[in-house]
Subunit: 382 residues, 2 copies
């Protein structure tokens, strides 16, 4: 009888998977995940004791996901010790090797407080962001500096005009990196300055948020450069830099800045309906564990294909109880236009950040006017 | 007429995408990618000049991918300047926002030397690994320490036996992280010592390769700890830690260690046939840009679903000309058994690393004997 050392606590966390196939196929896939996500070893060769009894996953329940019984929802529990102490290994246990198998989707997961307490989670969350922006109730506004190819001067001019018009968060388009047209350091300095200048005129608290789609060995250094030069937040694409790099930036007390998740390069986790993650789990639960204060995703009816239902599930993921983790802002974007706002308000209510990029260039004759129009609109919502 | 500053070089790189749909739909998707992957801005609002003429993607060709014309292959070129200076932004231009759109797959990409020269790529490659292991011709052997839950002592004993039997690369199972059963530092020291002890007896050059599925803020520090304590290589899961973190580790002159890619958490990029990346691009081209010397993937006919054809395409991606980048080792695993080796040899030839985990526990009565059996087998191939 082989026991693991030190003894296991007995606490377990649960992952809810959807397995494609009839009951028999789904059952086989679920059992496979119990092994694949833990010991990756022939069951009959495991040493007796804790490893087959506690370390491998356990199927807690299994029910049809739909009437035609073409897929099944299984709750599988794992020993908390399997997930180590960090987000990387937690994601590895949730979906590491299983990501390579077709017909498995992570619908949601449920962590005991002992695990969640290891994560700081969103530093600001909804309330913290509202305080920073002196906007206790209304929807917040975000836009992106673009298009790629503009000079730093042009981007800083845009930033100034957006801020003058009252856009709260003026972020780099995620395609702005460290390119010859607008090198990172110069862009950060000029854009942050431009927003600060506008704030002095308006009395608003807008801030500039650079995009951190940057080299792994420069990420922390450049984030600190941004902080020191007036950036008010960080746009982070975890698909490109890693979810735990986002967590690292959010956790950094020297930075102490809000973090916004950008979905570049994570689409493959959600585009195929039978594989990957649910929108709820990825843009809600994982985003919060990784410290995002706001989670960007493409709104329904824009340039992308998320359904209204999927967007609503992201809202749920952004606010459902997860231990002490703060609620965060759903930030729908991706081809939004002014005339969509009433419909979006109806669905999202006021706890939302409206991200309007190109669409903001069409509302009025100047960016300042366009920004003012949308700012007035959200201020007058009751 | 707005020109970008400094002037664009005129050099372009090409991404070959497969777009699902009939010709009209595919054409619309291709045009959409030209915009989405660059300016993300309404075309009619772009300032005249370089941005619409050179910065946005250009469709160079478009042809049916198959006889029924249900998908199309488009070559889209982008200005080299769009991709900045690093892997993060290159991946962003190749597939950032487009990852969120269904029915788009990256088949391959083609970079001019001016871009490839910015990447060191695999530090060792096939030849370098062969030199390290004093194995100029034969297939190399790799196994994994497992199952999760064993103590450091048990894992180190396994490592010793594998090395004594002549397995070249003894890696952590990717599920071993920094858990209570086998804390990272202690495991690395003991396993590296065990392999060194065996090498003294055998005269072989086997090495231990810890898994670096670790926190972003500890990755580099723990990699150096591993190096200082006798690790001979690094197992890196780029899906969990980011492709550029792998590149950072491979580029580190203080580490100077071979890097092996583990596919945990990248599966979603390849499991849906109409989305994500081709196996060729992800496990071949991207792996090499990110500095992998060996690329692990599940062999056909094991626990996973890759086809023989897809495995063969990974071999092509591991060795096709990519400027100065070294060729790397395809490392098929995922449920391999001794009796599969002849069939695998026929397909892979000698330029392969056979990764056998659980299967190695079944060949003979002891791990030493099992390892010897497979070592003799590969040494006697002509």
């Amino acid at each position: 009888m082989q026991r693991v050392t030190p003894p296991l606590s007995g606490e377990r966390f649960t992952v809810v998977y959807r397995f494609s196939g009839n009951r028999e196929e789904a059952q086989a896939k679920a059992w496979d995940a119990c092994i694949e996500q833990t010991v990756e070893f022939p069951f009959d060769l495991l040493p007796e004791g804790d490893i087959p009894e506690k370390i491998i996953g356990q199927i807690e329940s299994m029910n049809p996901a739909n009437e035609d019984q073409s897929s099944f929802i299984a709750r599988i529990s794992f020993a908390v010790e399997n997930a180590g102490h960090d987000l990387v290994q937690l994601l590895n246990v949730i979906f590491g090797n299983t990501s390579i198998k077709p017909g498995v989707r992570v619908e949601e997961f449920d962590l005991p407080d002992s695990m969640i307490n290891r994560f700081r989670g969103p530093r600001f969350g909804r309330e913290g962001l509202r305080t920073l922006l002196s906007a206790p109730e209304r929807p917040l506004l975000c836009t992106a500096l673009k298009p790629m190819g503009l000079s730093v001067q042009d981007l800083a001019d845009q930033a100034y005009q957006f801020a003058l018009g009252g856009i709260d968060i003026i972020k780099d388009d995620h395609g702005l990196a460290d390119q010859v047209f607008s090198p990172f350091e110069e862009r950060v300095q000029r854009c942050a300055d431009a927003v600060a200048r506008a704030n002095q005129q308006t009395g608003y608290h807008s801030f500039y948020m650079p995009s951190l789609g940057l080299r792994a060995d420069q990420l922390l250094e450049k984030a600190h450069f941004a902080k020191q030069n007036g950036a008010g937040g960080l746009l982070v694409p975890p698909g490109l830099v890693g979810f735990d790099s986002m967590r690292m930036l959010a956790d950094d007390d020297g930075l102490n800045l809000p973090v916004m998740l950008h979905p570049a390069f994570v689409g493959s986790y959600v585009t195929a309906p039978a594989n990957g993650f649910s929108h709820y789990a990825l843009f809600g639960q994982v985003a919060r564990l990784a410290g995002a204060d706001a989670t960007i995703y493409p709104n329904w009816g824009g340039r992308f294909s998320f359904s209204k239902q999927e967007c609503i599930s992201i809202v749920a993921g952004s606010q459902d109880l997860m231990g002490h983790l703060k609620t965060i802002f759903p930030t729908p974007g991706g081809g939004m236009t002014f005339d969509r706002l009433p419909e979006m308000l109806e669905v999202y209510g006021k706890n939302v950040i409206f991200l309007m990029g190109g669409g903001l260039h069409r509302i009025a004759n100047t960016l300042v006017e366009s920004s003012r129009t949308i700012r007035e609109m959200v201020e007058n919502i009751r």
